[in-house]
């Protein structure tokens, strides 16, 4: 199964401000009572996006100007908390193809990488510039250039970083590691016999 080579993501963006946005906020635990990931997209940021009666609260994702955005921008320590893959799955199924933040919590970052969602870090000042451009013109086209580690928008370019291992995997279309891990089976068995606790 050939995977898509993700050297860059181009699209419109939406800025969800805030630091330490945790995975409980990205997808509340009650929506994890499911045995597939199907349909998680509609519950993305549910409790900050909806009143308890199901009507919309003011939230960037509810703002019609940003409908159709495929690039999600936020603050520091995005995705902290639980290891639930339901969080990046909800982000992906909602329609996002890349996330830009000041930095990411580690498990969330890894989960995104495995799903082929680039997580790019940029400085607070640069994210603010992109957010300002979006506010002026919500149709602004943003290019998250994974290969060259920069973000281009409205005639500007700012540096962005994608951790080397994730960058390599995305750009070369090997972000889902399963094929390579399966290929390693003989080496795995050779290693396993050196560890007494793995004996059957």
């Amino acid at each position: 199964m050939a995977l898509e080579k993700i050297s860059h993501v181009t699209g419109r963006g939406v800025y969800v401000p805030g630091n330490d946005i945790d995975t409980d906020r990205i997808i509340p635990a009650r929506f994890m009572k499911c045995v597939t990931f199907d349909g998680l997209g509609e519950f993305l940021f549910y409790d900050v996006r909806k009143h308890t009666d199901g009507t919309d609260r003011p939230h960037p994702l509810n703002d019609p100007r940003f409908k159709g955005a495929t690039i999600l921008l936020s603050g520091a320590n995005f995705g902290c908390g639980s290891s639930r893959e339901h969080a990046p799955q909800a982000i992906q199924k909602y329609g996002f193809k890349a996330v830009v933040a000041e930095n990411f919590a580690e498990i969330f970052f890894g989960n995104c990488a495995t799903l082929g969602i680039p997580c790019a870090t940029a400085s607070r000042a640069d994210i603010a510039k992109i957010a300002a451009a979006l506010e002026t013109n919500p149709a602004t086209e943003i290019v998250v250039d994974v290969a060259n580690q920069q973000i281009r928008f409205a005639g500007q370019s700012v540096p962005a970083a994608v951790r080397a291992d994730a960058r390599d995997a995305l750009v070369n279309g090997r972000w889902d590691a399963i094929a390579e891990l399966l290929d390693g089976a003989p080496a795995v068995m050779a290693k396993a016999v050196t560890l007494p606790y793995l004996a059957a």
Partner: protein
């Protein structure tokens, strides 16, 4: 060359370097539960793959189990569906399942250690961020996502980048009424909720040397709350004594061999650490959170932060957001804040010693009128141990509801939830917005004895005063 435990365990389990530079790491023990595994089994079936090492894969059910209903079908059909799915997957792939009927069910991070499955010098993965708990035994344990669960099921390995190691020393002696929970809340407060990103935390120093295994587990459990994907304590005599005689511990001649092998994984004197941080135990007070992440903590006698005095713009905004959600007054004392619910339990503080300590002090006292108090043992074995010692009765007489084992109100995937903006004094690990099952529910994290103090006074209190704690 002198090596840290992390490096030794990593080297012992590193299979090869992958094309992107990550390591294919052998996962010795894979723990699974009902919430994050069903999709992984689905992916496995889609790819036509089998479980590589069913004998190194162990399952239990914890997140969704009702704590007041044992008989199936559960009143929540979604919970029942997850239960059925796990049962089906374990049967099909020949995986040991600590189901409720076995009497060994419980929170996955409590079951692994009590069965003796969690051992020093091993690698452990589980689709749950609190997998760091198992590091208490000198294992290197990672929380993983569902696609990685698929990877581990199919290959018993995962792709991972090597972590840096930060040694955290806690020296001296903790004061009376100061617990492991306070130690980790203090560490997270000082180093920040993302201070540990990219690191494994190695905890050591006199306080950890004296700690029991249960105390070490409480600290390692919340490593992820400080951003560290793994946290561990070097194995020592305390570790070996805990493991001796457990169902999955090596027996007879194999025991001595195992102990020698385990001891060899401890960090060497003079090994390299990427960072070292030292805390004086005497500085640590009973700690409580006031905000919406576990790093927003203060000691019980401090005042709630005031955004007006914040130094950074960022800090001001985060204090304002937190206080608006928590409905707390800037600059006020946290002590005396009225509570509605008291929750004892979770993978952080749902072990025998947690309930024992509460029972020791709460005997003869009563939960304040209007406070709902629940005590949820972390496993069926913990429940049984408590019941044999009469701890359940002491807690029930004090006004706590004694429930069946599970994650319960830590994340409220079962029927145990806050209602409206109820404020909960909780021995759990996360105070995120909506964490305890109500979108406006509020959580204050603290040690079990502090939860007990809050329960009997009806407000956030200093357990040392409430219970006249004079020695540990």
């Amino acid at each position: 060359m002198a090596k840290s435990l992390f490096e030794k365990v990593w080297d012992a389990h590193a299979v090869r370097t992958l094309a992107n530079g990550q390591t294919q790491l052998l996962v010795g023990t894979h723990l699974i539960h009902e919430v994050t595994s069903p999709q992984a089994f689905g992916m496995l079936r889609d790819l036509g793959l089998k479980v590589a090492m069913p004998h190194r894969t162990f399952a239990t059910v914890d997140h969704i189990v009702p704590t007041d209903q044992f008989v199936e079908p559960y009143s929540d059909p979604l919970a029942q569906a997850m239960m059925d799915e796990l049962r089906k997957n374990c049967a099909e792939f020949n995986i040991t399942f600590f189901d409720r009927a076995t009497g060994k069910q419980g929170i996955v991070h409590i079951v692994g250690p009590e069965q003796g499955i969690t051992q020093p010098g091993t690698t452990i993965a589980c689709g749950d961020s609190h997998t760091s708990t198992h590091g208490a035994f000198g294992a290197v344990a990672f929380g993983i996502g569902t696609t990685q669960i698929r990877d581990v099921l199919a290959t018993q390995t995962m792709a991972l980048g090597k972590l840096k190691v930060r040694r955290i020393n806690v020296n001296g002696r903790l004061g009376p009424g100061v617990y492991a929970k306070d130690v980790i809340l203090h560490i997270i407060r000082v180093l920040g909720v993302n201070g540990g990103t990219g690191f494994a935390y190695e905890y050591g120093g006199e306080v950890f040397d004296r700690f029991t295994m249960e105390e070490r587990m409480t600290v390692c459990n919340m490593s992820i709350e400080g951003g560290a994907r793994a946290g561990y304590v070097n194995p020592d005599q305390t570790t070996f004594e805990y493991l001796k005689g457990r169902p999955y511990s090596p027996k007879a001649a194999a025991w001595d061999q195992a102990v020698a092998h385990w001891a060899s994984f401890a960090s060497d004197a003079g090994c390299h650490y990427d960072d070292v941080f030292t805390i004086n135990a005497a500085e640590i007070e009973p700690t409580v959170t006031w905000g919406i992440n576990p790093g927003q903590g203060i000691s019980i006698n401090e005042r709630i932060p005031d955004p007006k005095t914040a130094t950074a713009v960022d800090e001001k905004a985060s204090i304002e957001e937190a206080l608006a959600y928590m409905k707390l007054v800037p600059g006020a004392a946290i002590k005396g804040t009225k509570i509605d619910v008291a929750f004892l339990g979770s993978c952080t503080n749902g072990r025998l010693s947690d309930f024992q300590e509460v029972a020791r002090f709460i005997k003869g006292r009563r939960v304040a009128a209007g406070v709902k108090a629940i005590a949820v043992p972390g496993s069926q074995i913990v429940a049984l141990q408590c019941e044999k010692l009469g701890i359940d009765k002491v807690l029930a007489e004090a006004g706590f509801e004694w429930r069946a084992a599970g994650c319960s109100m830590c994340l409220a995937m079962n029927p145990d939830k806050l209602i409206g903006d109820q404020l909960c004094a909780s021995s759990s690990n996360r105070n995120f917005k909506g964490r305890q099952g109500s979108t406006t529910g509020r959580t204050i994290l603290m040690s079990p004895l502090m939860v007990a103090a809050a329960a009997v006074t009806g407000s956030v209190a200093d357990a040392r005063e409430v219970f006249s704690v004079s020695s540990n």
